[in-house]
């Protein structure tokens, strides 16, 4: 089995992260120096499971390189088919990303995933990162097969795809003529809420506290809306529009799920399920119709908290977001704690100002 390669300018740091991420014989990460990587890429035997690329490579002796620069060269070689397809993942400390990339979006499309080294001492976070890497590799493996169709990849009936999917996604996928180009929309769909949502967002939308005793029973009843396609074991997700359909058709709710508040959602669910506790909006996150998450809390504290978009601040994405991904928000209270963040929407900050004293 091919190994993942961690390309880093600090041999000790690279060895330490590689060891931490590896999992016996099932998932192997090997460190590789920048110069080692440059000569390997030039050979015709470079075929790793994937590459974890540091951003700042300024400690390497010899000619200065950057992670995005080498990664772009690898993508060009993949386009020319002088390198085989494999995922490239940005792997760096948050501070180094801010210092080297900041608000520059020009390297965003190069990477399949962006993983921060911060917090990887936590075992559950390491497991989660490992799972994502395995999932991304699975996507590359399946896309490497000839004649693979989107419906097969997603394991979804075309009629359901018409209802729960997106023609814009389909065209973004179809336009790709290389594995990495076709993998890109698929991976974005898994990683970022939009067509698919993870368990945190699902709980926010249902207005339920995930620690409720009845939560797992409720999840079981949503099995038919679960994503069962490629890498489904690594990315546990539900079809967002499937859940909305279930709410209106199966539960026969009067109002759309997004238009109901936490109390209405829990009252509706209590008719069919026991042991459910209503979600409590955390301090700093206003409103009572949770739908999205706070990007700032996720970036700063690796914590996902619910956000009601009508009482939250929009965040300008560094690169334009496709229509099949949800827009980004910050909880108002958290936005107020980060006044220097230029991505925060000024109109929303002004609109919500009357509520500032309660935050």
């Amino acid at each position: 089995m091919a190994s993942w390669l961690l390309i880093d300018d600090s041999p000790e740091e690279a060895a330490s992260y590689a060891q931490a991420l590896s999992d016996g014989d099932t998932f192997i990460v090997e460190p590789l120096s920048v110069n080692g990587a440059l000569s390997a890429i030039g050979s015709d035997k470079f075929s790793p499971a994937g590459v974890l690329m540091d951003v700042d490579l300024s400690n390497e002796i010899g000619q200065q390189q950057t992670g995005p620069g080498i990664s772009q060269d690898m993508r060009v070689a993949q386009q020319k088919q002088t390198l085989p397809p494999f995922p490239i993942v940005r792997f760096s400390l948050r501070d180094k990303v801010l210092e080297n990339i900041g608000h520059d979006s020009s390297s965003d499309d190069i990477f399949d995933l962006k993983i921060e080294k911060d917090g990887l001492s936590d075992d559950s976070l390491r497991r989660s990162v490992r799972c994502k890497l395995i999932g991304v590799r699975q996507i590359y493996d399946v896309l490497g097969n000839d004649g693979v169709e989107l419906a097969d990849l997603l394991n979804l009936d075309p009629e359901l795809w018409m209802r729960w999917g997106s023609s814009a996604f389909e065209s973004d996928f179809e336009v790709g003529d290389r594995v990495h180009l076709r993998a890109s929309p698929l991976i974005r769909m898994m990683v970022h809420p939009g067509l698919l949502i993870d368990e945190d967002i699902l709980a926010f939308r249902l207005g339920i506290d995930r620690t409720s005793t009845g939560w797992s029973k409720l999840l079981e009843s949503l099995d038919e809306y679960k994503y069962e396609g490629v890498a489904g074991d690594c990315f546990v997700r539900w079809w967002a529009r499937g859940i909305e359909e279930w709410w209106q058709d199966k539960l026969a709710a009067d109002a759309p799920l997004a238009g109901s508040n936490i109390q209405q959602r829990t009252e509706m669910l209590a008719k069919s399920f026991e042991g459910l506790k209503a979600l409590t909006m955390p301090k700093g996150s206003m409103g009572d119709r949770p739908w999205r998450y706070c990007l700032l809390t996720k970036e700063l504290h690796q914590e996902v908290i619910p956000v009601d978009p009508s009482r939250a601040v929009r965040i300008k994405a560094r690169s334009p977001m496709p229509s099949w991904l949800d827009p980004l928000y910050a909880a108002f209270g958290i936005a107020l704690q980060n006044p220097g963040d230029r991505r925060l929407d000024k109109d929303d900050l002004k609109r919500l100002q009357p509520f500032a004293r309660n935050q």
Binding site: S166, E244, L257, A258, G259, P309, S310, S323, P327
Partner: protein, 246 residues
Amino acid sequence: MTFPLPDELERLSAALRREPATSETADSIDTNLGRFRSQWTNLEVRGDALALPVPRNQGLHPIGCELQAAFLDFQFVWKEEEQLPWRAEYQIRVEGSLEAGNALFELQDHWRLDTDMYAPSRRLPEQDGANPSKEPHPLFHFQRGGHAQDAFAATGFLPGTPCMIEGYWKGLMQSPGPRIPMLPLDPILAIDFCLSQSDGLIWRRLRNLPEYLSVIEDAQKRLWQPFFEKLQEIAFRKMWLGPILA
């Protein structure tokens, strides 16, 4: 009471862009946004041929026809002292075609949402120089047809006279009535209404986008809450509905 209608149309457009089927509607709004802003300084907006998704292909006549495009024209005038639109006219045109043997039929369907508030002469007695309607015209009403349909059907229209075909055929007929009372609509609520009537699947998706929902909710609160309150007055009920007795 005035309100930032162009800003709200911009919010609506951003939400409509999330759904591929309504991205053309969003394009139409964005293209006209500068014009809407300048018109709104006089508290009116006029939209011409705003693209709408074509209706879901269900129960269409004539059987076998193909839908191609749908458009909304509107004229909306607001007066600060009024709580209801002074003029709120929406004309919907759906275009399609039917290939039948060696003939190609260009097809159009027209319906409109109308208001008479700006034309009080329709409600005055005839001897005062007014032109009162013989049939009741509810203040805001739905009606089929309209001038655009009259123009479309003026030439080369079948069935009609003169007629170049022979034999016995059936055709669908249309009269100006009925004029069905409607809620007052601003352009935001009119677009929402058109979307709801043309494709429930698209509309339901949009209504699960909080960004879409909040624009519609704000518009409904602004326009419909005062309207529901005014319905308590019999004089207003008579104006809105027509010949009610209680």
